[in-house]
Amino acid sequence: MSSVNTTAHSVVEPTPTAKRIAGAIVILYALVTMVPLAWIFLTSIKSPPDSISYPPKIVFTPTLEGYCNLFTTRTRQTPDYIQSLPRPTGTCDEITRGRNMVIAGRSNYWPRFGNSLLIAFGSTFLAVSLGTLAAYGFSRFRVPLADDLLFFILSTRMMPPIAVAIPIYLMYRQFGLSDTALGMILLYTAVNVSLAVWLLKGFIDEIPREYEEAAMIDGYTRLQAFRKVVLPQATTGIAATAIFCLIFAWNEYAFAVLLTSGSAQTAPPFIPTIIGEGGQDWPAVAAGTTIFLVPILVFTIVLRKQLLRGITFGAVRK
């Protein structure tokens, strides 16, 4: 849309000034939202005293102590005992000994992180798969009472999920689903599937039926047509939906606190329980949070192209 005459501009293209103003607003907004994240990251590389000093320190000597404390459990020893030990084997060993402690073992952070991965991705996969099939059904077949069913599905989101925490807690105890990965996957799937059905129905409605009809006339069954023609065209919507489901399942805290405590505990309830000597170990908590952000970040970056087209809900799609 460039023009030789620099003073002229097309009606649809914003003027350079408008673009600059819009850009400034976006950057300002990004900065505001990034400040807490930056603060968390900075805290994760501070020493415990630096992390709680007042006024807050902007300039400090970075240390990996927070990450060491996050991954390990430590016990206090006498300086004499520490002197008698052989040379430290790694950075964390050295930092720990500097605090008159020795590493006693690994913390539960990675197992909890693993639980989060399993439960969040597992429930997202289930919710999106079920949601895609249900949305396709609602979009293409004359389902009896379709509107009522869709409203019913949506109505499960009309109260905060935590409102049903007590019944679910009792039910899970009864069925032996408390503190199991399966239980958490089912729970998050149940919460997310309604969102998935609604989002995906919108996307699938936009795919003309003629594509499947053409495929069916060309000798494919409906299921084959769905897989070869509908699914490839729904990837944008599926990616957008998956991100929404994943973010919910990944960040969910209330149910996780209530229903998991041991082997199936996810990272969100675990991170705040990291206690150092004499109180909260803020650098370790910040380190745990920083690492916790990475998977969502990666997922979002990988799917960013689909997302950009998907989240605008058809506005950018051709």
Binding site: Y211, E213, A215, T221, Q224, Q233
Partner: protein, 364 residues
């Protein structure tokens, strides 16, 4: 290739009758155009033949096999959609080869057949392009390629030229007919454009409100319309109707138009008194100073080789197609003369054409 036979086909959506008890046969290798205005049930009829819609009642035979309730994929037909339905996530080659893939044709053979088909349609140079960037005509050809590659029993096309601009349409009309002449595939072609139907079809079925008003060759449809609806739908400008009140007896050879006797083909049935209309095509009118049927020139439209002159008569406005040499003044009185062999008489109440010797001769 094969024959399509439709018997008493009917489709209702709730209480709404989209297609009403239609019957017709498309012979092997024939090109049928389903012609009618928007909403008359053309697409619904086609979709029932394809198996995309189940009929409320009636039967569909393909090569005398009853396929009424067969799945679309089991009918061995090809369908060209109005918007082509080219798969956007595949390139041209994949789109054309897609139907073969479902039949587990080996890859090398698919490749060969795609290339052969592309050559036939002169699109072999764009095989590896994405379909989203293609021009309308090329999209059309790719859609055709996808249809013909399988060598199906028959082709169904739903307004395949509807989205092309007028100039390109003309080109595609010729290409389509040429393609048909080469591969002789039984074809049902849906259109609302009478010129497309006339130019391509062996047989035309004119539909109105779910009913097939007339089924015949383009010549029959044009020359002997079975109803006022068909007469009015076909031809531009359409047939003129001059209304009069009268009854007719079998063997009558003229009608009285506002007291003036006008010769017509011999009437072959008795008609009780009622509102009738004399139908006359614009090109079957001559100006003659001796004619007793007179009117005043109301307007004219110059078309190059000829002109359309509208004349206001006692029986309504009549449009005549005459040579462009003569110019008329508005209000000028002229005499009209009709070619008696080409006239038709209709019953206004039912819209039906009254049987005449001409009609018998053409139909018999």
């Amino acid at each position: 290739m094969s024959e399509i036979k439709i018997v008493n086909l009917r489709k209702q959506f709730g209480d709404f009758v989209a297609v009403e008890d239609s019957s017709f046969t498309v012979n092997d290798g024939q090109f049928l155009a389903l012609l009618g205005p928007s909403g008359c049930g053309k697409t619904t009829t086609l979709r029932m033949i394809a198996g995309l819609e189940l009929p409320t009642s009636g039967k569909i035979y393909l090569d005398s096999e009853d396929v009424t309730f067969n799945r679309a994929s089991a009918r061995d037909i090809a369908f060209v959609f109005q918007l082509f339905a080219l798969y956007p996530h595949m390139n041209v080659r994949k789109n054309i080869g897609f139907p073969l893939l479902s039949q587990r044709v080996p890859e090398t053979e698919i490749r060969a057949r795609v290339e052969e088909t592309a050559k036939l349609l002169r699109i072999d140079h764009i095989l590896d392009r994405s379909v989203s960037g293609l021009a309308g005509g090329d999209r059309q050809r790719v859609a055709l390629g996808r249809a013909i590659i399988r060598r199906p029993k028959c082709f169904l096309m739903d307004e395949p030229l509807g989205t092309l601009d007028a100039e390109f349409r003309e080109v595609m009309v010729h290409e389509l007919r040429e393609l048909h002449n080469r591969i002789h595939a039984t074809t049902v072609y849906v259109t609302h454009d009478q010129h497309e139907a006339m130019a391509m079809a062996d047989k035309i079925a004119v539909m109105n409100h779910g009913v097939i008003e007339q089924f015949g060759t383009p010549q029959e449809i044009y020359n002997r319309p079975a109803s006022m609806y068909v007469a009015d739908f076909i031809g531009s400008p359409p047939m003129n109707f001059m209304r009069f009140h009268s009854g007719l007896e079998r063997g009558t050879r003229s009608v009285l138009l506002d007291g003036i006797e006008v010769p017509v083909p011999e009437v072959a049935e008795d008609v009780p008194p009622g509102e009738l209309a004399l139908g006359v095509r614009p090109e079957h009118i001559r100006f003659s100073d001796t004619s007793r049927l007179r009117g005043a020139v109301y307007g004219s439209e110059y078309l190059g080789t000829n002109q359309i002159v509208a004349v206001e008569t006692a029986s309504g406005i009549v449009k005549a197609r005459v040579s462009a040499d003569r110019s008329f003044r508005l209000g000028e009185t002229v005499g009209l003369e009709f070619n008696p062999a080409k006239l038709a008489v209709f019953d206004c109440a039912s819209g039906r054409a009254i049987a005449s010797t001409y009609a018998e001769a053409r139909h018999g």
